[in-house]
């Protein structure tokens, strides 16, 4: 059961859980809809690849550098969000994605269209993390780390500030929130976390090409967040798991799996626009009701 295939799927799922969670900070918490998240994945992947390949930096250092550098670049690329809103922001982030990918493609330092290959596998205490269980543990650990960050963030003043910006920027400002500062924070944190995934992604595949980080990937990530339930912790996780697994489970109709995927998104938006497990979703309400009533009956049993 725990075949390498299954492990690979799970490894990617873990990575995409982190990605969806990180995008959720930006889009779910802070309300800045982004269609350019793949750019941050790419920046992280390239940072890590370049450092390990060209400068022979050890993986762990490169991994940290990927997080930090992507975070920094994310803060800069977040600047348009201060001027631009709504649909325009969506398009601007889409544009950022395109521009970042073409920088990878057109700058020889990044290997151009030939990509960067032979990226070494990480190793720790002499164990090489090339695929398999160790790598799944690594990506799962990172997903848990992302989850923890998201959870912790939601308990901090910043987390509170993000939510106020999404709810009502004016009211937030009237209560002392500087929307610009927190939007930039959101971009930075969201990008940094995605950058970490990028590093894991690059070292898992062993090679990176500009085309791995195109706009379509960003669509996929946003879909996960919205599909699962935007602005919650459970939503992006469930969204990433389902949207990663559904095409894989649909392999038996492999040539039609994207037809179904597309149709699923449409139906979801028509009938459950808050996502499968969003706060107002049918499923979530029934689940919580069921939990509550079973908890109540459990209590009564005790009595």
């Amino acid at each position: 059961m725990a075949s390498g295939y299954f492990l690979t799927i799970l490894t990617f799922t873990a990575m995409y859980i982190s990605l969806a969670l990180s995008l959720n900070i930006l889009t779910g918490y802070a309300g800045q809809v982004s269609l350019g998240h793949a750019a941050f994945l790419g920046i992280g992947a390239y940072t890590s690849a370049v450092l390990t390949l060209r400068y022979e930096v050890p993986f762990w250092l490169a991994f940290l550098a990927a997080i930090v550098l992507t975070g920094l670049i994310g803060t800069i690329l977040g600047l348009p969000s201060l001027r631009v809103r709504h649909d325009f922001l969506v398009l601007a982030t889409m544009g950022i994605n395109f521009v970042v990918v073409s920088v990878f493609k057109y700058v020889d330092f990044f290997g151009g269209a030939m990509g960067l290959v032979n990226i070494p596998a990480p190793s720790l205490f002499g164990i090489t993390f090339r695929g398999g269980v160790p790598y799944l543990l690594l990506t799962t650990a990172y997903a848990l780390f992302t989850l923890w960050i998201c959870w912790y963030l939601s308990k901090t003043w910043s987390g509170l500030a993000f939510q106020t910006i999404r709810n009502d920027e004016e009211a937030a400002a009237s209560l002392g929130v500087n929307p610009a500062r927190y939007k930039i924070y959101a971009f930075g944190i969201s990008a940094a976390l995605a950058g970490g995934v990028g590093s894991l992604y690059a070292h898992f595949l062993g090679s990176v090409f500009p085309d791995n980080f195109v706009f379509v990937e960003s669509i996929g990530m946003l879909s996960m967040v919205i599909f699962g339930g935007i602005g919650t912790l459970r939503g992006p996780i469930v969204g990433a798991i389902l949207l990663r697994l559904i095409p894989e489970l649909l392999r038996f109709i492999q040539d039609y799996r994207f037809t179904f995927y597309g149709a699923l998104l449409v139906l979801m938006m028509l009938f459950q626009p808050m996502g499968l497990l969003g706060n107002d979703s049918w499923l979530w309400q029934h689940l919580t009701r069921w939990f509550r009533s079973s908890a109540r009956s459990a209590k009564e049993d005790v009595r």
Binding site: D168, A173, L175, G176
Partner: protein, 246 residues
């Protein structure tokens, strides 16, 4: 010394002059700002609270020029406001809404990234504020699910949490039934008694006249009258502005 000084403030929206050379001061009082629709009252509030930089003129608060500050900066100086159309953070609970006001003005630093907001002392303070506005029973309710009367009080609670010296209330009684309006008036008096200065925009005249010490009347962007409620009620210009020429 007057707390808030407004000096020759004018503001244009495109070709439309919303404020014409508005000048007045506030003192230790509840000041009413009234006027027909489109008189520029809310624009003036936006200028004072830092949402709009006026085209010309100056606003000083406790001697400090504030008309170029952003809203989140004016809060820090002790200016808090509410909105005509309530703007609750709908997805947050009542408690969290108040916590925003309690903490955010004091987190312009990166400490906001790691300091938790739900501490014992913060919650205690929230408790006190909620008690003041009689919202204690609703502390864990989601703001989206509250009726308007409670939302008005929530907005005031949020504003109070920022430790203001001056409170700007934009139509606090709008949408309230008589009973609620009376409770609100009592609350405002109470706050004043505790040392807060208050400016309120109001359409509900009964409410404003009973509550305010002094009233400034704006019409078409200009101050047409100021004085105590009785003076205002009998002022020709005001009657004309409201009811039209007799």
């Amino acid at each position: 010394m007057s707390q808030l000084e407004i000096r020759s403030v004018s503001h244009w929206f495109g070709g439309l002059q919303a404020l014409k050379d508005v000048t007045f001061d506030t003192h230790d009082e509840i000041l009413g700002l009234i006027g027909p629709n489109g008189a520029g009252k809310t624009t003036l509030f936006n200028v004072i609270s830092g949402f709009i930089v006026p085209t010309s003129g100056e606003v000083r608060f406790n001697g400090k020029a504030i008309h170029r500050l952003r809203a989140d900066q004016t809060v820090r100086l002790g200016l808090a406001r509410t909105f005509q159309i309530v703007k609750p953070f709908a997805s947050l609970t009542v408690e969290e809404n108040v916590l925003v006001g309690l903490g955010m003005p004091y987190y312009p630093t990166s400490a906001a990234l790691y300091q938790r907001y739900r501490t014992r002392s913060n919650l205690d303070q929230v408790e006190q504020i909620l008690a003041k506005v009689h919202l204690t029973d609703y502390r864990s309710a989601q703001a989206a699910k509250l009726p308007i009367g409670l939302l008005r009080r929530l907005e005031i609670a949020r504003a109070l949490a920022t430790h203001p010296k001056l409170l700007l209330l934009d139509e606090p009684a709008a949408g309230l039934v008589a009973q609620e309006a009376e409770e609100l008036a009592a609350l405002v008096r109470d706050l004043y008694a505790q040392g807060l200065h208050i400016i309120l925009i109001e359409h509900n005249m009964r409410f404003a006249m009973n509550l305010c010490h002094r009233i400034v009347v704006l019409a078409q962007g200009e101050i047409i009258a100021q004085g105590n409620p009785t003076e205002i009620q009998n002022n020709e210009k005001v009657i004309n502005a409201y009811l039209g020429q007799e």
